[in-house]
Amino acid sequence: MSARCIRTPGTHSSTISSVTNLTTETQVAPTRPQQTGAEVFAPVLPVDLRVTRLAKSFAGTLIFKNVSFGLSRGEAVAIVGANGTGKSTLLRCLMGLIPADAGAIDVLGTDVRGAKSSDLRAMRAQMGLVSQKHNLVPRLSVLSNVVQGLLGQSPGIRHWSQSFAPAASRAEAMAALTKVGLAHLASRRADRLSGGQSQRVAIARALVGQPKILIADEPTASLDPAAGEDVMDLFFDLARQEGVTVIFISHNIDHALRYGDRVLGLADGGMPLDARAKNLSAQDLRGLYD
């Protein structure tokens, strides 16, 4: 399956330079025409996520400030940047897992910074997160870990473990495991997996709830090159065919440019890069790491 040939050509009303000043215009997410060939100027799909002038520091150390961007439905976005520039921190802020210091975050119509915890949970139930460190629950089986990915939609004891889970949930979890090619390890304990296997289980756990927004923190970091391509192809298909908004962090410049419609770059406490991938070269991205 070649990801490159399914790429829709970018046809957009907004112009984007590789280094944007974050004015109000550039915060508006470029709207993307549907695959079916919608008209260029139709404001097609709703905006799923908007971040405005976000700032975050830890114990007085600024991580980033003035970060603004918007994503529309079905868009695949790569976030790049050197180690420690705050990519993972940004994703945590998006899901309300840690508080931001300033700015506004709107995800699927939820004001993340001001939301009640029940609203936050409802929002998160429509999202999937693959953490950088996989974060599987040790001592539980792979299948139980994936079933727990449904806890947001169906709270309660039946989704604590695969043993209590309704047949439908077990089947969904198996389907998610099949997607990442690990169905045969369903009953293995999560702490007895190889690095790449545990990463793929984490991906299955994020996919099982059929999220509208999928957030993946270096989803291919532990994967061999072939498995990495498979996973990226899988994400890309989700974005193209099911309209899932995909945000992924990657240190793989090739992946960022090939699988991202857009690339956001973090550096020097801000986001100096927000550009269409097709307008970027590998050289542009390397500049970020200097």
């Binding site: 949970r121 998160r124 999937g128 996989h134 709270p155």
Partner: protein, 268 residues
């Protein structure tokens, strides 16, 4: 990274820390004085101890006495086990409330932790006295004393274990939109299970040790035999009781150590 200097091997104590150490030494010496530490008594006690040993040996090995003490010992172990199990089970919800940043707000953590501190501050034998007053003489009072003592111990350590658990899995489950309680049940508790088992086994060992003296205040178990033995100057029987307790306690520690490796050793 040119000016990243190598950290010192040992940190030099500050003047304040030095004063602290000096104060600690003074307090320790003062404590010896307070405890009536005297060289005279140190010198005179070995002969008196030898005298006791002389009168206590050989221990009373009459079959009738052994049978009676054996049954009492069994009762003691039953008190310990029943009390420990009740205490361990009750400790889980208590620990959930005591653990910071888990499900309860900070003020509840503080209140519960203070309560647990109070339970631990009161010695087990004092709890036994309280329960003897409350429910009357006998093993039930002893079991309650062991249970409450276990809650003080396990509630605190379960809570500490849960606070120390890796936050990653909890964060990832929170990100699925799960409720706090579900996150705790699915991520925190499974991750903490080895520590729970280890703590519970320690608590049971502790319960076995405590249960042997509850009888001193009439809360059931073999302790009463010890008291009677000393009161009647029947030192050989008292010696039998002491040896029996030692054998049981030490065997139980071995047993629990073996169980610990069996249950969690290789799985950790």
């Amino acid at each position: 990274m040119t000016d990243a200097s190598m950290p010192a091997r040992y940190e030099r104590p500050s003047a304040l820390a030095f004063l602290g150490y000096a104060a600690a030494v003074v307090i320790i010496l003062w404590s010896f004085a307070g405890a009536g530490f005297s060289i005279d008594k140190e010198i005179s006690s070995p002969p008196r101890f030898a005298d006791f040993i002389d009168r206590a040996f050989p221990p009373n090995m009459e079959p009738k006495v052994l049978a009676r003490l054996g049954w009492k010992m069994l009762e003691t172990l039953q008190i310990a086990l029943a009390g420990a199990v009740i205490g361990i089970v009750c400790s889980v919800p208590v620990a959930l409330l005591a653990a910071r940043g888990l499900i309860a707000p900070t003020w509840i953590n503080q209140v519960v932790r203070t309560g647990l501190g109070f339970i631990r501050a009161v010695p087990d034998i004092a709890w036994a006295l309280v329960f003897v007053v409350a429910v009357g003489l006998g093993p039930f009072a002893g079991m309650l004393a062991i249970a409450i003592d276990t809650i003080g111990f396990c509630g605190r350590f379960f809570a500490d274990d849960m606070e120390a658990a890796d936050k990653g899995p909890s964060e990832s489950l929170t990100a699925t939109g799960a409720r706090k309680l579900d996150v705790v049940a699915c991520a925190t508790i499974p991750a903490t299970m080895p520590a729970f088992i280890s703590t519970s086994l320690f608590a049971t060992e502790k319960a076995v040790r405590s249960s042997t003296i509850l009888g001193l205040v009439g809360a059931g178990g073999i302790g009463i035999e010890l008291k009677v033995g000393f009161d009647l100057f029947d030192y050989p029987t008292a010696m039998t009781v002491i040896l029996m307790i030692a054998v049981v306690v030490i065997s139980f520690e071995y047993l629990s150590g073996w169980a610990r490796t069996k249950i969690i050793g290789e799985q950790r």
